[in-house]
Every structure is written in structure tokens, then in C-alpha cells.
Symmetry: C3
């Protein structure tokens, strides 16, 4: 995963253009199930319109000696995203008007965009800006903003049922490691894992530019998603090794929320819970009142909560393979819970006689109860009301052990499954 991420890192992505196409091509090499779609500029998508396509070849600022003081090829954050082309000489005063910096983090280059108003600009560190001399500067942006397409990727992995689980991640930030590439890289890893096994649910894994991409995707696929989606997650910020985070859906009560919390409670030591008021990614669209899909997000350190967020500091040093593997691990556990989240009914009155089935010791001492209490506790709450997540909550038994025990009891013909989603 780390190698894939390194390969994707230098590409200058935006919400449209060749950076997105190149990124999807590389992801398709990893997972050939990925299909790419293009939507023309000007297409109406709900309240929005697909913008012009933006591409950029080069950009720099030179001082009067002809020295490049910043260079797009060194760091693609130096250019304001969606900058219109320009080539002219400007005074220091004029230059300062189109410069973006972060005075509070003077070493870092900020990530700034202007998608929906045409302008041009440059970003640099505050330190560099402070050292600018009163000089004449030559500014150059070799970009193109014209009718084209918005591009996105989609992997569909069919399951036993058309009911589906959504995994959504975004591919629109330039060289950003944690708050961007950790998402697609973990998503591809999960896609490979899911396509190698039999699943109850169909998995819809999508790679879209944030906001306009998810809106565009929804406008084309909403009816089917609304009918079928049982749970969904926004995959982002999954690359560092710090605590896990959970960001709730609009009311925090969907199967997506319940499965996420069940996995986090049983499988990680600490996690931080964020309200939907703290949202910032595509759950803004998925959970909006007119869409209302059951979507939440499980992350490592959340966007906005680490100082390098949306700066040149969100680079390859911020993330690790171990961090990414932790991201994959928690989503595998969430998916395992969703796949097994049926309700069950014990099919005999009173406790069944476990002893004759080899599930209860034949000698009864003061410690007998403890040995089998997990089995008995799961059994007694298999009353048709509780699904797997409820059983874990009530008995405080881990989903994994709960699934194992349920399978044992099903083999002994003691439980019937009520599968509501198929």
C-alpha cells in the first residue's frame, strides 16, 4: 500500500482533469474491476453544474535575475488550484495580492483552491514570503480551463443480494498523503480482499472528487443506492498510527454507525467520537436530508485535527504502512460485522440441553456456569429481537466470538437465522 501511495503522491490532482485520470489508471492497474466514467462540463447535477476541466503543465515565479523562486514542478501546492493561465511581470505589491500563506505555520505551503470563481494565484510558506525583496517578478502559469469532463471511478463487487455497502473515497487533492491518498489506497486494498471472497452484500466502491464528484455520482446513481444501501462509509485519513476516530451520520443511528461503533469498541483501545456537526467530507452529501443514505466515517486522526492538514506537511512522512494496515483492519472488521448482522431465534423453549451436544460439562461444580456462560448468554438473547450488534452490546462478547458461537449453535440446529436484508 505504501508503494502505491508513493506512486500516486506526485500527481497534481484536482476536481477534474488529467491528474484524476492518471490516478484512476494507476488504481485500475491494482484492481482491474475499476471502471472509469466521464461527465461533461456544464452538466446540471442537482443544484450544481459540472465545472470546466482544469489542466496545468507548469508554473513558476522568477525574480528579476531570472531565478525561479517557486516552481510548480518542485511542489504542486505552489499554484492556487484551478488558476487561470497568466504570464506577466508584476511588482512586489502586485505579487503579494495573489500570494497565499499560513502565518501561523510559517514553514508550510498551504493548499488553496478557487474552483467556482476564475482567478489565479500562488502559495508559498510565510517564511519565504517574508524574505521577498522589492523586485520585479515574472509570474507564469501554463494552465488551461475549458469544457471537458469530470472523471470518477467505480468498482462493483456483486454479492448474494443486491443490497449493498458503499465505500466512498476522494481523488481530488494534489500531493496530500493522509487527507487524500490514504483513502483510495485503503479502498483498493479492501476491493481486492472483497473480490477474493464470497459476500452476502454487493459492494459499491467509488473514487470521486470531493463534493462535486459525490454530488455528480449521486445524481446518476441515487435511485439504486437509495433502494439498496444498508451501510456506507467515507474512507479518508487512514494513514497515520494515532487513535481511531468515528464521525457519526446525521443522527448517528444507522447500521453504518452501529457496525462502526461495535468494531471500534471491541477491536481498538481508544477512539474519538465526532458529532455530525464536525463533518467535512462527502457525508455532507450522503447524509443530506434529500439523500439520506446511512453513511458515516471511520478514520485514524480526522481531517482538521492534525496541524499538517491541507498543507505541504501532509506528505509521505505523515503516514506509515502500519497506519494504513490499521485502516484496512478496522474496515475489514466492520464489514465482517455487517455481513453477519442477522437476527436469530432459539428454536426450543427453556434452555436447550447443551450437555447432550457436547457443549456443557457433565460434571457440575461451583465454576461450571462460567465455562459456558458466553454460550448461554448469546442463546438467551437470540429471541428474534437482537441482531449481532445488539448481542455484542448486551453480552459484551466480541463480534468474532459471537459469530463463532452462533455458528456452533446453528450447526447444533438450535438457532434459526432471520435475515432481514435478503
Amino acid at each position: 500500500m505504501y508503494e502505491l501511495l508513493k506512486k500516486l503522491f506526485p500527481i497534481c490532482r484536482s476536481i477534474t482533469g488529467d491528474g484524476v485520470r492518471k490516478t484512476l489508471e494507476i488504481l485500475k492497474e491494482e484492481c482491474p474491476l475499476l471502471k472509469t466514467y466521464e461527465v461533461p462540463s456544464g452538466t446540471k447535477v442537482y443544484d450544481w453544474t459540472v465545472p470546466k476541466e482544469w489542466n496545468i503543465k507548469d508554473a513558476w515565479i522568477k525574480n528579476s535575475k531570472g531565478e525561479k523562486i517557486i516552481d510548480f514542478k518542485q511542489n504542486n501546492l505552489h499554484v492556487l488550484g484551478y488558476s487561470t493561465p497568466v504570464h506577466k511581470k508584476v511588482s512586489l505589491k502586485e505579487l503579494l495580492e495573489i500570494l497565499y500563506t499560513l502565518p501561523e505555520q510559517p514553514d508550510l505551503i498551504p493548499y488553496v483552491t478557487s474552483y467556482y470563481k476564475e482567478r489565479y494565484g500562488f502559495c508559498m510558506s510565510e517564511n519565504q514570503k517574508q524574505n521577498l525583496k522589492n523586485d520585479e517578478y515574472e509570474i507564469f502559469i501554463d494552465s488551461e480551463l475549458k469544457d471537458g469532463f469530470l472523471t470518477y471511478g467505480e468498482i462493483i463487487i456483486p454479492g448474494k443480494t443486491e443490497k449493498e455497502v458503499l465505500l466512498s473515497t476522494y481523488i481530488c487533492h494534489p500531493s496530500m498523503a493522509n487527507n487524500e491518498l490514504s483513502g483510495p489506497v485503503v479502498a483498493i486494498e479492501l476491493a481486492k480482499w472483497l473480490s477474493g471472497k464470497k459476500n452476502k452484500y454487493t459492494y459499491r466502491i467509488i473514487f470521486v472528487p470531493e463534493t462535486i464528484g459525490s454530488i455528480t455520482y449521486l445524481s446518476k446513481n441515487y435511485k439504486k443506492m437509495k433502494e439498496n444501501t444498508v451501510a456506507g462509509y467515507v474512507l479518508t485519513c487512514l494513514g497515520d498510527e494515532k487513535n481511531y476516530s468515528y464521525l457519526a451520520s446525521r443522527y448517528g443511528e444507522t447500521l453504518a454507525d452501529r457496525a462502526a461503533l461495535c468494531a471500534l469498541k471491541h477491536y481498538v483501545e481508544n477512539f474519538k467520537t465526532y458529532s455530525f456537526l464536525d463533518r467535512g467530507s462527502d457525508e455532507r452529501q450522503y447524509c443530506s436530508p434529500g439523500i439520506d443514505l446511512p453513511v458515516c466515517s471511520v478514520m485514524r486522526t480526522k481531517y482538521g485535527e492534525y496541524p499538517e492538514y491541507h498543507t505541504s506537511g501532509d506528505n509521505l512522512n505523515l503516514i506509515t504502512l502500519k497506519g494504513l494496515e490499521g485502516g484496512v483492519h478496522i474496515y475489514k472488521k466492520i464489514i465482517e460485522i455487517i455481513e453477519n448482522n442477522s437476527k436469530y431465534v432459539v428454536n426450543t423453549p427453556c434452555e436447550p440441553q447443551l450437555g447432550k451436544r457436547g457443549l456443557y460439562p457433565t460434571i457440575s461444580t461451583k465454576n461450571t456456569q462460567t465455562l459456558v456462560e458466553d454460550i448461554l448468554n448469546i442463546l438467551v438473547y437470540c429471541d428474534g429481537k437482537n441482531d449481532l450488534i445488539d448481542l455484542c452490546d448486551i453480552t459484551n462478547i466480541s463480534p468474532q466470538l459471537c459469530i463463532q458461537t452462533i455458528n456452533k449453535l446453528k450447526q447444533a440446529n438450535l438457532l434459526e437465522e432471520i435475515n432481514e436484508n435478503i
Copy 2:
């Protein structure tokens, strides 16, 4: 307000009689919308009967030297409320049997009544009682207890809808400043404010003797009130500058409770919450099972919770203009919430594009989200389920800012209002 209160203070009010009439006359001078009603003694009102009318001209006790040791004209608390007339000489021993004092508060004259059993009596401070000599005393009460009327006042301020808000206050205590006059004075101020503006709801503002007055009023107006009342409040103890108090309705879940708590949480620093078990005023009638109106009470320091309560200490020194203005202020805020408490639905799927409406910055940096998060948070919970109070609770945005934002969004044609009460 303080001047009005001073004018009303000396009048000897009771549950019937000329004191009530005089009080309502003065209030009518302030607000000519006030109408007065009279109900004859002996009228059956639910389980009760309107009592005889009581009037008093004078009362005193003289010692054997002919010196008045207490004088009704000095302080109308000196006479037991509803005392029958008397004029005779009594020994010290006989006098002590009809004297009421407060041993724990030896400086203060208690306020004592005997509405439903005919007797006579006097009240004085414990200190004065201790100094009484073994003497012959002449006692005199020039009162009259005979068939007459129970008198109450009513202001109706029509709104766009017949649905109404009830403000109820009482006018039956003699010279009591906080636990009596602060209520009518604040009610009149609110009546003047409400009659000067356009309101969604009709306002029913009533001035009744406590208990028997609200029972009588209900027996005559219940059907209409039950059909129309969306929220109601008992106005009392609104004159000091101490913390605010909230006394819940029977189950604490009515619109009246919700609006009161919303105003208190967002607009005052501290407030004390009382259970309905701590009630003591006309919510006893309004919230009784057979009446069941949505009524609670917001006060400054609650009756029974300050030592001067129901004594001669509850006088003009206890209250201030600033205290009364605080009482008016909180009720204005409560009314503003009720008037605006609709539900809303955003009328486009996904987030609307705020940028093209000038509601979102065109430059996106790491701090963009914060700038517009109030708008986005209100919008996303405008899903038809939440009213204004819910929105304030969920987003922790003040009702005032919430109302402003909603109005902005309505002007941008992004929200539809669901008005359930009209």
C-alpha cells in the same frame, strides 16, 4: 414598571373585593385592551364554589390607654385575610389566640388568610407579640363578608391564527411586591409590546386571583383554551435580580417547557430547574389531569425560596427595575422562539451550492468550513423533523442566530416552512 408597581403596592387585595377591582382599573389605564369580568358568589366552578366577597375599611388593636398598637392603615398584612368583622374588648390571653406571627423571623409580619372558613384574626411580628403586656385590648375589624363577585381581568391580542399563547398572573395578595405585583406589572409590559406588533399567535393574558380565580376562569373558557393553547406560562416572582428559575409542567415536555428551556439555556448565565413537584401557583390548575394545558413557569427567585416570601419583607425593597426588565426580557425571548418555532425542509438534494448565492467563500482554505458551518449545520438538520428549538438544541446555535440564518436561507429559496400550528 417600578412606578406602576409602587402605585399598586398599597392596595389591600384579596381573592375578591374592591382591592382586586382597583388593581384592575389601574392596569387598564396602562393597557386599555384589558377587560374586567365578575362572577357572582355561590357560582359552582368545578369542585369549588365562588366565595363571598370580602371588603375591609379599617382595623386596629388598641391597648387600654387607647393607643393603636397595630393599624391596618399602616400595613394591610396586620389583618388575617377574609377576617369577619369584630369590635370588642379582649384580655391578653384571648388576644393571643387570634394572633399570627413568625417565631423564626421575629421582625416580619406574616401574610395569613382564611378564605374558606369564617374567622377573624391579626398578624404582627413575633417581636411585637413578645412585648405585649398583660392588658385589656380593644380589637376592631371593619370588614364585610357578603354575597358579591369574584373579579378578574383579561387581555386578548389576536394574531394570524386562533392558536394561542396563555400568560396568567395573579392579583389577590395584599402588599406583596415580588410574589404578586411583579407578575401583573411584567404581564402588562408584555401586553403593550405584543399589541404593538404583528404576531402569529393570539395572546391570552389573564389577571386572576390565585387558585379560585384560575379555576373560575377555566370553568368559563376551558373549551376554547384546550383547543387552541400551544403554550402557557404563569407569571410570578419576576422582580428581583437573582438567578432565573424554571418550573416544569406535569411531565416537562410541552412546547412551553421546550421554549422556556431554550431561552434560558441560550440567553441567561445560570438558572435553577424545579420539578413540577415544587409547584405552588396556578400551574396546579392548568396542569391538572382534567385540564392538561401546556403550562410552565419562568421566574427569577421562586416563591418559597427566598426568606421574605409571604411576609412583610416582600416589599418594594426586594425588587428593582432591572429585575423586572430581566423578567420582561426572558419572556420576550420565549415568545420570539414560540413565534418562530416552525419546522423546515431544505428543498434540494445534497448541499445546495451556497457559493453562487454569495453564502460561501470562493477561496477554499483549511479554515473555510468554520466560516460557514453554522449555515451548513442548520441546513442539514432542516429535514422536516426538527423545529427551531430542535435546531438550536442540535447545533448549539442561539435561537436569534438560528432565526436570522433561516430567514437568509428562505430568501435564497432553499428552505420550505412547515407550519403545523396554523
Copy 3:
């Protein structure tokens, strides 16, 4: 009660056999309403089968000198419950294989059984085991395991209605004082009390061997119990003087739970609450999904929570008359609550005029409210929604005072009773 318990203590009970019969005979002497039933070995009861009947006359181990080193007649715990007969000589090594001890409690003989697999064995203290010499031992068990009967007892005390309250206790442990005999002894005392008074509900008091007995009983009586049972309790561990315990039903929300908690909150100083996950007695059957009766358990110190549990330490020294009386007391209080747990409606709008009924003082001072607030608080929540337990919860008034007040108000014709169970 203590004398009865002493009489029952030496009997060697098991889940079947003459020990159970003898125990029921003695209980019948105390309460002639008790009827005994026998169910043949081999009878199918739900997922189970009634086992063979077990009886034992004698058992011992002798050393090579012919000295009895353990003797069933000294302590019936020395024999593994349900041991098959045996008489042979064994080496120390062979003996050790059939010996059960408690290494952590080296002074105590454990209580061990093997109901559903045929084997034989002996129990002794760990200390005695450590002192065993390398010798030849003669082991002897004069027992019989053959087709016979499972025996149980039942007392039915009819009430005004067929709706019933279940009290279930068990009679299958040999010489165990707290975790066995305290249950039947308290149950008999309650039966005597209940049969001496008029009750609203019918009382079903049963004495069954644990697990197989309650399963057998249910298989014969389930339909009627399901139709009629409003609340039930498992009576066990009621003999020590320590804190009370409450073990919840499957969801902790039945009338049995509510009445138990109401009694414990108002009548005892401290009590410990256990989740249904901590269950261990016949609530395992009564609360199983296919049975689903409203059953919980109130105990003194719970089984498994005191070190003497299921050892020779659970003997007559562990319990006291005072402890048993405490057990009877709490169940009397619970039954009083259930018997009176109706809903009520006040039959007049507004507060009724208590004064004219002598329930309200005729003089009103600042302290009046307090004097009658209990009456007023009960009255105002008599709105047809709340039963006695709700009224106690809301007003924090004890059930006893609440019942007294309600009776006073009923006599004054102010309340109507809504009796849902008759």
C-alpha cells in the same frame, strides 16, 4: 423458620429421589395446601428427558486398617451427586482420579454432581486429600440409579382473579443452607401468610428441582402460566443478614422487576443490582425466549458471590432467623406493591377542594403547601397513565404512604381505579 430449616438440613436431596420426597413431606406439615406431583423417568420435557431416579443409603472410604476416612453419614456432600453404586479396593492413584476437592478453599468439601453422565466419585477437603497416604483403600457407594420419578411440590392460593403471581424455589441440593433451604423455608412462610388473607391475585408457589424441575413444571403448566402470570420470582439465598440483591429479568422491564426495585428502593438501605447476564437459577428457564415469563429474583447475598457457595461452608452457621425474616419482609412488601399496583384517575378537573373534605388546612400560611404536598402530588399524577409504582417513582413517596393516601382519596370519591389485570 430456623427450626424448620434445621430439620430439613440433614436430608440428602438431589434432583430426584427420596430426599426430595422427604423434604416435601416436611414442608406439607407446615402448609397442608402443598400438593406433590411425580413425573416418570424418561418423560420428554421440551429438549430434555426426565433422568433416572437416584437414591443412596450409605457410602464411605476405608483405609487398609479398616478406618472410615470419609463417611456419607457424616456429611452427604462426600459423595458425588448421582454416583452409580460401587464396592471395590483401589490404590491411592486410582482413588485420586475420582476425588473432587477445592484447592483454593482447602478446608471445605465441594458440592459436585454428575446428573447426565453415569459415573461415581467422592468429595473431600483439599487438606484431607493432601494427607492421604500411599495405601490400599476400600470404596463403597450403596446407591441406586433406576427408572423412577421426578418429584415436585405446588401450592395454589386462589385470589379474586385468575391472574397470578409465581414464587418458585428449589429442593435439589443436599445439605446446603443459604443456597437452597432458605428458599423453601421463606416460600412456606409466605404461603402461610398469603393463605391467611384475601388477595387480588392467585399465588402459584412451586418447589422444584433446579433446571430439570422447572423445565418439567413448565412443560406441564406453561399455557396457563403464560396466560395468567403478571409477575414471578425465584426465591433463593434468602438467609444471611448481608445486603439485598436484585437480579433482573431478561430485559429488566417486567412488573416483577418494577415491583422488586420499588420495594428495594423504599424499604432497604442498600442493595446490589445484577444483570440477567449474572443469572444462575430457574430464571434461566422462566426468562428463556420461548417461555418469556416476567420473572426476576430478589435475594440477600447472591449465589456465587459468597465464598461458602456450593461447599460444606454453606451450612447452618451461615444463616440466621433475622436473615430469613428479612427475606420474608422484602417479599411481603413486593407482594403488597403488586396487589395495589392499579392506575388511578382523579375525577374532577383542576385540584379538588380538599379543604371541604378536611384534607387541607383552613388557615393558609407560607408553610401550608408542605403539609399537603404529598396528597397533591399523588393526586396530580393520577391521570390514568401511572400505576402505583410510577407514582412512587415520580413523587418519591413510599408505596405504603402512597397506598394509604390513595385509599383516603378513594374514600373521598376523588379517584377512580383502573384495574387492568382483572
